[in-house]
């Protein structure tokens, strides 16, 4: 049996749900179930134990943060299921909640990012594989909070690299984004870790967590 990864999708807008199913299938996942609200999502996750759940934050009945609460419940009950949250706006406190309990397997993106299909697929795969994907906007908000002290020592380019690291990207991903070589990225990262007094870590998501921790989020 080929190891096809499975996904569950929760989104209350039918229009978007159809689109999301197409994108998730294009990423090579099998869509095991679709749900229109948080309760339906939890039932589907309990029944199918998918590798990843793609969840809209604002869902019935209250249209506030049902998706975040459902995501936290999923991470608690079924740690093997990664969660990718999609939201109208991003709030760094939610990211903090999501990253507090578990390492990796969490994504938090603005809803409109699905339009950039290739990038979205990459983030989805990263999250399903146990990595993290934070929206650049979340990272920017985290930086606003920490716009002080050691961060001031970073150069402009180093700040860019730090933000991309916090989003959960690998060295190769950062290099592609900034159009530089991977070795240049590695040099920047070493410099950043030294300036911020962070431990050197090889595993991507360990490093991400160290950066996020520095930014005041996660354990």
């Amino acid at each position: 049996m080929p190891d096809v990864k499975r996904a569950v999708i929760a989104e209350d807008s039918v229009l978007l749900r159809i689109g999301l199913v197409k994108v998730v299938e294009m990423a090579g996942f099998e869509v095991a179930a679709e749900a229109g609200d948080a309760q339906g999502l939890l039932t589907a996750v309990a029944a199918h134990r998918p590798d990843v759940a793609v969840v809209d934050v604002r869902m019935p009945p209250d249209f506030t943060d049902e998706g975040v609460r459902a995501a936290l419940a999923i991470r608690r009950e079924w740690p093997a299921t990664a969660v990718l949250l999609l939201s109208q706006y991003v709030e760094e406190r939610y990211a903090a909640d999501l990253l507090a309990a578990n390492t990796g397997g969490v994504g938090y993106l603005l809803k409109q990012r699905v339009a950039d299909v290739e990038e979205f697929i990459e983030a989805l795969r990263r999250v399903a594989a146990g990595g993290t994907a934070l929206d650049p906007q979340v990272v920017a908000q985290l930086l606003v909070r920490r716009a002080s002290d050691p961060l001031e020592r970073l150069t402009g380019r180093e700040r860019e690299v730090l933000a991309l690291m916090a989003e959960g990207r690998s060295n190769a991903g950062i290099a592609a984004q900034l159009v530089v070589s991977e070795s240049a990225v590695a040099k920047h990262i070493n410099s950043i870790l030294a300036k911020l007094d962070l431990p050197k870590a090889d595993a991507d998501h360990r490093r991400v967590l160290a950066v996020l921790h520095f930014l005041g989020v996660g354990g």
Binding site: L16, D65, Y89, E91, Q112, A115, V117, Q137
Partner: protein, 404 residues
């Protein structure tokens, strides 16, 4: 025979004045009568001449209290029905004015009213003296006034008295109006205070209504246009990713459409953010401001120190202030490299301070952005202060009252 209009008007006025005065006598004399009754009962109680006086004494006293309040309403009716003057309904707590009128001022006016009515009656009787002389049987007469001299004199006196009545009545009505308005009416200060209260209330209503409207528009956009645009951009993205065998022109068209769809989403998002973002309602000012600060095109240091959430109206204004101020900094502050936003709560005041290190020279009198900002601050009784000397730095401080 036709009555000249002037005379008719004068007669109508006289009739109204006399009615007003006549209605006043019993109303004004209720209290003195009750006082007299109470006084007699009290005297008897003290002298111990009557065994049941102490038992009855509470009755006039209770009636006096009832009269103190109840007569006010009756007086209001008298002024409204006969003078066309609408005195305001006094609150139950305004005892001093009601009792002052019904117990003290009223009885004095009542005496004047009774005197005037007596004068009118006496005048009428005197004018008719010749009728009395002829009509009354001689054995009932007290004396025989001389026909020619004394009776004529009495008639003339009566005529003089009657002639004085209209003017005196009009004067008394005027006096009653002045006294009534002064004691039972509302003073200028009270009237202004009431007006201010009404305006404050209606303005708060207008501010709330505008907030609710912004929220409704935000929700409608989110449920409708935004979802559709994201779906559109998603489908175009899918087309771009899957259709690989397209002609260059078709590919270019799809790419352009995809780009524009994404830009439309951004524009719509920024429109919604300028209106009333959902995050403001759901998570409060702190979260909403961090989104604003992160989007600003220059580094913003944000410090929010709020122990609890402020009211929705105040949060809306504070958010708008920071939004406008940051837009302004990005647009106009020359050579600004950073901005600081600080939100603190000092007792019942929410204070928002925005500073940048640009070249200054900003003027709130020019530019619709700053003017709109000042207007919204004032709509919740907030204060605005700005310092922007040429050469910088610029600092803006807004204080919004928010009840604890």
């Amino acid at each position: 025979m036709t009555i000249p209009p002037r005379l008719r008007r004068a007669l109508a006025r006289l009739r109204r004045d006399i009615l007003f005065i006549a209605a006043g006598v019993p109303l004004h004399l209720v209290s003195p009568l009750l006082f007299t009754w109470a006084g007699i009962l009290l005297a008897r109680t003290l002298a111990a001449t009557s065994s049941n006086a102490p038992a009855i004494l509470p009755a006039p006293l209770a009636l006096l209290v009832v009269a103190g309040y109840g007569l006010t309403e009756t007086q209001r009716w008298r002024f409204r029905a006969l003078c066309g003057v609408d005195l305001p309904r006094l609150r139950f707590t305004e005892k001093k004015r009601q009792f002052g009128y019904n117990w003290l001022v009223g009885p004095l006016l009542g005496v004047l009213e009774a005197l005037l009515l007596a004068l009118a009656a006496a005048g009428l009787a005197a004018v008719l003296i010749l009728v009395w002389i002829w009509a009354i049987p001689w054995q009932w007469r007290i004396e025989h006034p001389g026909y020619a001299t004394r009776a004529t004199l009495v008639t003339l006196l009566g005529l003089a008295a009657l002639a004085a009545v209209p003017a005196l009545a009009a004067g008394l009505v005027r006096l009653e109006n002045i006294v009534g308005r002064a004691v039972l009416g509302v003073s200028w200060a009270d009237e202004l205070a009431q007006r201010v209260e009404d305006l404050t209330e209606s303005r708060a209503g207008a501010v709330d209504a505008a907030d609710a409207e912004r929220r409704r528009i935000e929700r409608d956009l989110h449920d409708g246009a935004q979802q559709r645009l994201v779906s559109l951009a998603l489908n175009l993205g899918l087309a771009k990713a899957t259709l690989t065998d397209l002609s260059p022109a078709a590919r270019e068209a799809i790419e352009a459409a995809h780009r524009e769809a994404k830009e439309a989403i951004e524009e719509l998002n920024s429109l919604v953010r300028g209106l009333h973002p959902a995050v403001l309602d759901e998570l409060g000012l702190d979260a909403a401001l961090s989104g604003l600060a992160a989007r600003a095109p220059l580094p913003v240091r944000l410090r929010v120190d709020l122990p609890e959430r402020a009211g929705t109206a105040v949060e809306g204004v504070a958010y708008f202030v920071v939004s406008e101020a940051l837009t302004n900094v990005a647009k106009h502050a020359r050579e600004a490299t950073r901005a600081d936003v600080t939100v603190t709560r000092l007792g019942g005041i929410l204070r928002v301070v925005i500073a940048d290190d640009g070249m200054g020279g900003a003027d709130p009198a020019r530019g619709t952005g700053l003017r709109g900002l000042v207007q919204r601050v004032r709509s919740v009784d907030g204060t605005f202060w700005m310092s922007s000397p040429v050469g910088g730095p610029t600092m803006m401080s807004v204080e919004l009252p928010c009840p604890m």
